[in-house]
């Protein structure tokens, strides 16, 4: 099995607070291709920081994040932009979509930045929106979509460019039960069909129950790392 991400003694200290905050402490983990991992833990346990650091949005204070053989902590900002573009998909808790673009344009956006051919981009965007059940919303802007539909567009966008892995920061937090189940069904199906590695930070029991691996963070350190056969 191919290792997609490996973190070595990852630490993150925020020094701009009154007292230094140790958001991550010596976190060493490996993520295998096709894994569906839930990062859980109480608020302030370092879940979002962990996702930000392995997503290249934030730099670790110590340690390394190796993705596809590259330590991303050593990359310059412009190199990181390119790296994220080619390797990582993101789904956030809220404000996921570009409000002035239609669903199709949002899904195509990363492929557009990757300079993929227009026809291929349109075909893939349409295919992904069909997969998330939004084939009737291709030309609709985010403002006219429900919260659940917006998250499904975000998932379609994150997966459309075929990244090595998708980081999802509490994607179901603002969704009602039905929408949350819908989204999870879609992500679980795409995880299996496209063999994409999914890493969620979540409090949501519904997500945890579907994950093949659950990592519990407490005070920035790994307290538990459990695998499930699902």
């Amino acid at each position: 099995m191919k290792t997609v991400i490996r973190t070595n003694n990852l630490s993150k200290v925020y020094k701009d607070a009154a007292a230094p905050v140790h958001a991550l402490k010596n976190v060493s983990l490996e993520f295998i291709q096709g894994e569906f991992t839930a990062i859980v833990g109480p608020s302030g346990s370092g879940k979002t920081t962990f996702l930000n650091v392995i997503g290249g949005l934030d730099k670790p204070t110590e340690g390394s994040v190796v993705i596809d053989g590259v330590d991303i902590a050593t990359l310059k900002e412009s190199q990181l932009f390119d790296f994220r573009l080619r390797h990582i998909g993101f789904v956030f808790q809220s404000y996921n979509l570009i409000p002035v673009l239609t669903a199709t344009e949002n899904v195509s956006f990363i492929m557009l930045l990757q300079k993929q051919p227009k026809k291929e981009m349109e075909r893939r965007a349409k295919e992904m929106l069909e997969q998330v059940g939004l084939s009737d919303k291709l030309d609709v802007r985010p403002g006219k979509l429900s919260g659940g539909q917006q998250q499904r567009v975000a998932v379609a966008r994150a997966l459309a460019s075929k990244p090595d892995f998708v980081l999802a920061d509490e994607p179901t937090a603002n969704l009602d039960t039905e929408s949350a189940f819908n989204l999870l069904d879609i992500m679980a199906r795409l995880n299996k069909e496209e063999n994409i590695t999914l890493i969620f930070s979540t409090h949501d029991q519904r997500v945890i129950e579907r994950a093949s691996r659950v990592i519990t963070l407490v005070d920035g350190a790994v307290a538990k790392d459990e695998a499930f056969d699902r």
Binding site: N52, L57, S78, R84, F92, Y95, I98, L113
Partner: protein
């Protein structure tokens, strides 16, 4: 690039009302600035045009002392050498107008008044200033005419009309006494009150006879084929005349004091326009600032998705440029019919303001200029302002800490 333009265009219409208010503020500021500038420039152009047409021409040859002491004793002798000089420049000169100008006391049976006598070549003078169009009674001067043509204001002051005889008394060339009786054959209405109340036209030959100044002229007014060549022609003439006796002056030299005054006055116009530009700048800056503050999460999202800072900065810059271009074009478009209307229908002044302007010897109107620079100077200035304001979001985007906004 296409996606940046698409995003920028759609972004500015996200808050349609705010964008329309911003564009409107630019529109009105550009409109006001154009109207203001057009009025100021039009006034100056009219003043210069009046002075050049009725008074100075583009180039004059004078006696070397005439400008310092404008007296008939400082007139120039229009001899063969001067005629030959003008003939040598005929390729560059459209025509030239001889004038003999002096003062005289004019009297009727009951009224007398100091006035200005201008001896002219009727045909050439008409070519210079369309003087015959101002004729309101009698006939226009002809070559060999012995009568005179006077301003309608002077006619009113003297209570004289066509067919009446005026007595003129003055000092002729080199102290000779100039005296004569002249029949009024024409009355002209000039727009400049100071001239209209004082002027007497007669043929240049008649004036030379009256002032006993054979072949003397106070000035030769030269109209170049291409006014833009004025300096070159003047320089060439100046190199050919005898500097001990003759002097060549351009209209800019003859109107130097007025031009300086105009430049000084223009400074106050620029102050007013600077205030308008500040209004434009703050209006645009306010919108850009609000858009930047509102969109921090969106910027963080775009970064996370892989959009580079340079692309995001370009998008923000183009947004400010779009609004400025829209406001500027709308302002220029709105100003065109207004300016054209006022070019053909200048505002006629009345009351004290009109009197002040008339006292300076100009027609009491507020003319407008429709020169291209009236429009493009404003457009370019506003675009420079928006370019500078557009640099603010660029600066902010390059300094944006994604993690604080995420």
């Amino acid at each position: 690039m296409k996606i940046i333009l698409k995003l920028a265009w759609r972004n500015i219409w996200r808050n349609r009302r705010r964008t329309l208010i911003t564009i409107s503020s630019i529109l009105f500021a550009v409109l006001l600035a154009i109207i203001f500038f057009s009025m100021e420039k039009g006034t100056y152009e009219q003043m210069i045009d009046s002075m050049v047409r009725y008074s100075t021409g583009y180039i004059q040859i004078q006696d070397v002392m005439f400008e310092e002491e404008p007296s008939i004793d400082h007139s120039l002798h229009y001899d063969d050498s001067l005629q030959a000089l003008l003939a040598r420049h005929k390729e560059q000169i459209e025509f030239y107008v001889p004038r003999l100008q002096n003062f005289a006391l004019v009297a009727t049976e009951n009224v007398s008044r100091a006035s200005m006598v201008v001896g002219i070549d009727p045909g050439l003078e008409d070519q210079l200033s369309n003087l015959s169009e101002n004729l309101i009674a009698g006939r226009f001067l002809e070559d060999g005419e012995k009568g005179i043509m006077i301003g309608s204001g002077l006619a009113e002051i003297l209570r004289a009309g066509i067919g009446d005889t005026l007595v003129l008394l003055g000092q002729g060339f080199h102290g000779a006494t100039a005296a004569g009786k002249f029949e009024i054959t024409g009355i002209i209405g000039l727009n400049i009150p100071d001239l209209n109340n004082n002027i007497i036209y007669m043929t240049v030959e008649r004036a030379q006879w009256f002032y006993m100044a054979d072949n003397q002229l106070t000035s030769i007014i030269i109209m170049p084929k291409d006014p833009a060549q004025t300096q070159l022609i003047a320089q060439s003439l100046a190199e050919s005349v005898d500097p001990e006796w003759h002097r060549v002056l351009t209209w800019e030299e003859m109107l130097a004091d007025i031009l300086k005054l105009m430049q000084f006055d223009m400074a106050s116009t620029w102050v007013m326009m600077f205030i308008l530009y500040i209004v434009i700048a703050f209006g645009l800056f306010g919108t850009i600032l609000t858009m930047m503050i509102e969109r921090q999460k969106e910027f963080a999202l775009l970064f996370a998705l892989g959009m580079k800072r340079s692309m995001l900065a370009a998008m923000c810059f183009i947004e400010s440029l779009f609004m400025s271009i829209a406001g500027t074009l709308a302002g220029v478009a709105a100003s065109i019919p207004i300016i054209i209307y006022f070019v053909y229908n200048p505002i006629r002044l009345s009351g004290g303001m009109a009197d002040v302007i008339a006292d300076y010897g100009f027609e009491p109107i507020l003319p407008f200029s429709s020169g291209a620079e009236v429009f493009y100077i404003q457009a370019v200035t506003v675009l420079i302002i928006s370019f500078l304001i557009g640099l603010y979001p660029v600066y902010k985007v390059f300094r944006l800490d994604v993690m604080k906004r995420h």
